[in-house]
């Protein structure tokens, strides 16, 4: 009888004891993991391509593993990274009919008083054949109106820029033309814009040259050639920046970073179709001199103020690695970044990389767990096995109440906006656009969709950058919006649609097909404007059709667009009236004052002067209300407070940045 009692009560008691013991013990074991584990859900397969990050994980790894030449520092200004310093200069060339004329001009300019030379930042004038090269210590448009009268009697020849576009690769044809052309002496420079187009800088008997070039391509109709003169200028300006590389800058494999690596990296970026930020500025480089291993000298084809931003955030890879993988890149295979990760010059190195896990080590081990189901990640986070992840809206709402968890916004790299077609009535009136903006409760939209972890940005520049200003967001005021529309003659009776001159206020809003989040936002906008009596039709359009058929052809009233922020202060392509017809100025906004500001800002090199111009430009654009800013891009990231050492980083608004969080433990390689 006794043994049966032992068995009957002993088995459950043993199981209960084992359960309590093993449960507690296991919790103790997992309570003390040393590294960080960041988990990412399915659908965000890593690429490890530092130039084309597929997800926030890729961006964070790039930030840890790679080092750019220049970076945006904690104060939001451009700071040295691999390049410890940089120095601008400019060479402006002017051509003459004979060498003697050039010599006279050079002597005349060199003979000017030192005050004048200093005032013009002209360091020397050098005659080289029929060309006079003016060396300026500062880049930008030189005082041409003052210089030209001094040299006019020697007959300076104008410089003409000719653009050639072909259906096939242009380089071979250009070289053939160069070999056989009678007027080839007139070519002062060539710049290839992709494989099928190039621009020639010509000075001399430009009419003859143009005729010869035209004839050359007319005899080749299969190429569908387009030869046109772009503009004529008195001089050819070549701004030049010299970047000095930091002494001791090394890749994680121990090899030093040299100017050859920079050259190879720029070459790689330009040879691939990657939409790298600053790519447009890199394209303007006509020469990249790497003769000195510690110095990089980049010459730009024209005056372009934000040229330096091209190197800002551009990760530098070893030239040897790029060379070894060239064959793969030629075939468009970028899987090589995952298969054979390049050594980086950042604070950490990749220890192991696969499609399911990437381990980065730089004193503190950080594991990125990838391709995990959302439920598994949530479980792992709750159990302390995951230190950070990107929660869903519902999860974020729940985690917001958890004291042991901190929710941080992902660095704001893009924003969602509604672009108005300012060409079409009634949206061609800025007051109508303003009223539409005031009718949307954007704080509520942010609270519901982003758990209020970010602020509304009505400006055009990324917050945190030294030239961006804080703009008071357009307030939510339905009554004021209604009143504004009434003043403009838009009235409604009861719940009837808003009418003016017998026409109802109807707008079509374009949104990308298949994006449920945007559809939800569009529906919220529909509800908001319905309160004013405005009928909004939401049209989902496939991505290809969205830009090519609708935006570029101006066939829309309003379009919901996600736009990336840029470090560059050049906004000319998006808002200049010259870009309204065929360019990226989708809104069609055309304002001469704005055009002037845009042009001035584009040629401004001085970072100290940029904020003044940028503020004027931003205020002008905001006043016109060509777009309605909705939400900043990027979901918040949930982090365990105890796993993250650093407090909120003030510079980037407390945005999630692993490098900043783990910086105290990371050591420079």
């Amino acid at each position: 009888m006794l043994w049966s009692r032992w068995i009957i009560f002993g088995i459950p008691a043993t199981v209960a004891l084992l359960t309590v013991w093993s449960g507690r013990k296991t919790a103790e074991i997992h309570g003390s993991h040393s590294g960080l584990v960041i988990a990412s859900s399915k659908g965000t397969a890593p690429t490890l391509n530092p130039f084309l990050p597929a997800s926030e994980v890729d961006r964070q790894i790039t930030d840890l593993v790679h080092e750019p030449l220049l970076k945006i520092g904690t104060a939001g200004r451009m700071e040295p990274a691999i390049a410890e310093s940089w120095n601008w200069s400019q060479t402006s060339s002017v051509w003459f009919a004979g060498e003697d004329y050039a010599k006279i001009v050079a002597q005349r300019l060199n003979a000017l008083s030192s005050e004048i030379l200093e005032k013009w930042h002209l360091t020397s004038a050098e005659a080289s054949g029929k060309e006079v090269r003016l060396h300026f210590s500062k880049p930008g448009t030189p005082p041409i109106t003052t210089i030209m009268p001094l040299i006019a009697d020697q007959g300076p020849l104008p410089v003409e820029f000719i653009r050639v576009e072909l259906k096939e690769q242009a380089r071979g044809y250009h070289e053939f033309f160069l070999k056989n052309s009678v007027e080839r002496e007139q070519i002062k420079g060539v710049w290839f814009d992709g494989p099928n187009a190039y621009e020639l800088t010509v000075s001399g008997e430009t009419l003859k040259f143009f005729e010869e070039l035209n004839l050359f391509y007319q005899n080749r109709p299969a190429l569908h050639p387009s030869v046109r003169s772009l503009r004529t200028a008195p001089m050819l300006h070549r701004p030049e920046v010299e970047l000095t590389l930091r002494d001791g800058a090394k890749f994680s494999d121990g090899t030093p970073v040299t100017s050859d690596d920079v050259r190879a990296t720029v070459g790689l970026v330009l040879s691939q179709p990657w939409p790298v930020p600053g790519r447009e500025a890199l394209r303007l480089i006509v020469n990249l001199d790497s003769s000195d291993p510690r110095k990089v000298r980049a010459t730009f084809k024209e005056i372009y103020g934000p040229a330096l931003t091209a190197f800002c955030g551009l990760p530098i890879l070893p030239a040897k690695w790029i060379e070894a993988q060239q064959e793969m890149f030629n075939h468009g295979d970028t899987h090589v970044f995952l298969d054979r990760p390049p050594p980086g010059a950042g604070v950490a190195r990749i220890e192991r990389a696969s499609e399911s896990s990437i381990i980065v080590n730089g004193g503190r081990r950080i594991e990125f767990m990838l391709d995990q189901p959302a439920r598994t990640i949530r479980m792992g986070f709750a159990m302390g096995a995951v230190d950070g992840f990107w929660p869903s809206k519902a999860e974020a709402a729940s985690l917001a109440n958890d004291r042991s968890v901190t929710l941080r916004p992902t660095p704001m790299r893009s924003r969602l906006t509604v672009f108005w077609n300012c060409r079409k009535p009634p949206l061609n009136d800025p007051r109508v656009r303003e009223a539409l903006g005031m009718a949307v409760n954007r704080p509520a939209l942010q609270r519901d969709l982003l758990q209020n972890e970010s602020v509304i940005q009505d400006g055009i520049f990324q917050q945190g950058l030294w030239f961006a200003q804080k703009i008071t967001p357009l307030e939510f005021n339905l009554e004021k919006a209604q009143h504004t529309l009434e003043e403009l003659g838009w009235n409604r009776k009861g719940t009837a649609p808003l009418m003016k001159d017998g026409n109802a206020f109807r707008i079509e809003l374009l949104t990308a097909a298949g994006n449920l989040e945007r559809m939800e936002i569009a529906q919220r906008l529909q509800e908001s404007w319905k309160k004013l009596g405005i009928e909004l039709t939401i049209t989902s359009v496939p991505p290809d059709e969205f830009v090519n058929s609708r935006l570029l052809e101006h066939r829309f009233d309003a379009a919901m667009l996600g736009l990336d922020y840029e470090t560059s202060w050049d906004q000319l392509p998006y808002w200049h009236s010259a870009q309204a017809r065929d360019g990226l100025n989708f809104t069609g906004i055309a304002d001469p004052t704005l055009d002037g500001l845009l042009e001035e800002l584009r040629t401004e090199f001085n970072p100290e002067r940029v904020p003044v111009l940028a503020h004027d430009l931003e205020n002008r654009i905001v006043m016109e209300h060509p777009f309605l800013a909705l939400l900043p891009g990027g979901d918040p990231v949930a982090l365990h407070k105890d796993a993250m050492l650093a407090p909120k980083h003030a510079a980037n608004g407390g945005a999630f940045n692993l490098r900043a969080i783990t910086q105290p433990e990371m050591k420079q390689p």
Partner: protein, 530 residues
């Protein structure tokens, strides 16, 4: 479940054979040739494209699941036995009350226990569940001891979750059985000899309960085989159940893979029945045979309780609104009419099938041979498993399969009752008087069986609710507003908001118990005595 018949001979072999036949049928459905079918039997599934159903892969997972199910069965039964022993001291009524609580526990779908365990362990107790996340070995935590602890914990969590329904069922059965045994007048002799309660129970009743326990464990093992699928899927235990769940979750479930799963399921079932047979005895001891069923008075109380629970559930909005509780139940409460009507319809269909078996058995003597005792007992083992594994595209809405599965236990029990009556003195007398089988069934057996059939149908409705919830959890019936579907939809958010996933389970359990209690009101000895 308070008295079980002895198993037919070679039940494990029969169960295995039955599963093999079904697996081959599944394989043939996807166009397998005889050659492929033969190779399938020796472990080569050439129709499975990704090789996941290959014998070496699935065998390992099956062994893990078999260990888990056996472990869970042992835990559930041992806890139930200990619990029943403890509460037996409190008297028959209290003991039976605890038994009904056990019934309530067994009526909660296994998904709810798994989700509840996840919430309780992780959010409330801040413990880990090893199988839910690929935990890396912590620094210094790769010793043998640590490995053992982690392995033990990773097994204990799913085993305990699976053990809960077994514990509930067994507690219900054992408390009622023990209550009936303790009220046996023959025990007066033992008491007169001065034996105390403990001595009577441990010395005289435990041997009887052991046999009861072994026979109770058979349907529990079959039940666990089906429950193992959602539990492994939710807890991430990498066994046979998770394999089945993954295949069922795939759009256009692979019949070849499911055939392999069924084959290995058959092996597991046969193995479980085999080791349970070691604990059983050929015939029930005398003292068990003379035991009377529980008093009719308690049946009336049970029925009234069932009516009370049903009324409380129907009027839920009225009495939860004043306390602001209604939002918690609103979503799951909205589905009750649909759920009850659906379960009742399935149960009614199953009842009709059972009724049709009566004349069929009379008209076709061979029917008795085809549906012999062994076959009935075998089929009784696998209804939910059968339903789970048979559905796929085209069959998901095939309610006929579900109705057959729901009818199998009834047919088996009805067949046994019919055989018992046929061998009785009444049947002999009727045959001597020239009565045919059909007359005997129509005039004598059916009228007596009707209350019992009604009782079975009511009890079956509660069980069908549970079956459909499991099927809905895997989107098998195509509905999105049923309790099972609601649990699936809200499962991913269990840590942040557990109530939407758990309230459907609570509603289901209460309705199921309500039906079980109601069935007690129509309870008779014949023809469906269990």
């Amino acid at each position: 479940m308070d008295r079980f018949r002895p198993p037919p001979p070679r039940l494990p072999l029969r169960a295995w054979f039955f599963c093999v036949v079904l697996a081959l049928a599944l394989l043939m459905r996807v166009g397998a040739s005889w050659d492929e079918a033969l190779r399938f039997l020796v472990g080569q599934n050439s129709l499975e494209p990704d090789g996941q159903a290959a014998v070496h892969v699935l065998l390992k997972r099956t062994l893990l699941s078999f260990g888990l199910i056996s472990f869970a069965l042992a835990i559930g039964l041992s806890f139930a036995l200990a619990g029943a022993m403890l509460v037996s001291r409190l008297g028959g009524r209290v003991s039976r009350f605890f038994g009904w609580l056990g019934s309530l526990v067994s009526a909660v779908p296994p998904m709810a226990w798994a989700l509840g365990a996840i919430y309780f362990l992780i959010r409330v107790r801040h413990l880990t569940v090893e199988t839910l996340f690929p935990f890396p070995a912590p620094v210094g935590g790769d010793s043998g001891m640590m490995h053992l602890v982690r392995s033990l914990w990773s097994w204990l969590v799913p085993a305990l979750v699976l053990a809960v329904p077994v514990f509930g069922s067994a507690l219900f059965s054992l408390t009622h059985r023990l209550s009936a045994l303790l009220s046996n007048p023959k025990l007066i002799e033992l008491k007169a000899r001065g034996l105390g309660h403990s001595q009577i129970v441990f010395r005289h009743l435990v041997p009887l309960l052991r046999v009861h326990l072994a026979r109770l464990a058979r349907p529990c093992a079959a039940m666990l085989l089906a429950y193992d699928v959602p539990v492994e899927a939710l807890l991430g235990f990498n066994g046979w159940g998770r394999f089945v769940a993954e295949k069922l979750a795939e759009p256009g479930a692979n019949s070849a893979a499911l055939a392999s799963a069924f084959l290995f399921g058959g092996w597991m079932l046969a193995s479980c029945l085999g080791w349970l047979g070691l604990l059983d005895k050929k015939g029930l001891p005398l003292v068990a045979e003379v035991t009377q069923e529980s008093a009719h008075g308690s049946s009336r109380i049970a029925m009234l309780s069932g009516v009370g629970i049903a009324l409380a559930l129907i009027t839920l909005p009225l009495w939860t609104r004043p306390y602001d509780l209604w939002p918690i139940f609103a979503e799951s409460s909205a589905a009750w009419v649909f759920e009850i009507m659906r379960a009742a319809a399935v149960s009614l269909g199953a009842l009709l099938l059972v009724l049709l078996c009566g004349p069929a058995m009379c008209l076709m003597r061979s029917w008795k041979w085809i549906l012999n005792r062994g076959m009935a007992a075998t089929m009784n083992m696998i209804p939910l498993l059968l339903t789970l594994l048979l559905f796929e595209h085209g069959m998901t809405r095939n309610w006929f399969v579900i109705i057959i599965a729901a009818a199998i236990p009834g047919i088996a029990a009805y067949r046994d009752a019919f055989r018992d009556e046929e061998q009785s003195a009444l049947a002999d007398a009727a045959h001597v008087l020239g009565r045919k089988d059909f007359d005997l069934w129509w005039h004598h057996l059916l009228p007596g069986a009707l209350p019992g059939l009604l009782s079975w149908a009511l009890r079956n409705t509660g069980n069908v609710l549970l079956t459909l919830a499991v099927l809905d959890f895997f989107s098998a019936t195509g509905t999105t507003s049923s309790w099972g579907a609601l649990m699936r939809i809200h499962a991913d958010n269990i840590l942040d908001d557990p109530l939407p996933a758990l309230t459907p389970a609570i509603m289901l359990a209460l309705w199921s118990v309500s039906f079980r209690l109601l069935s007690r009101g129509f309870r008779t000895e014949s023809p469906l005595p269990r």
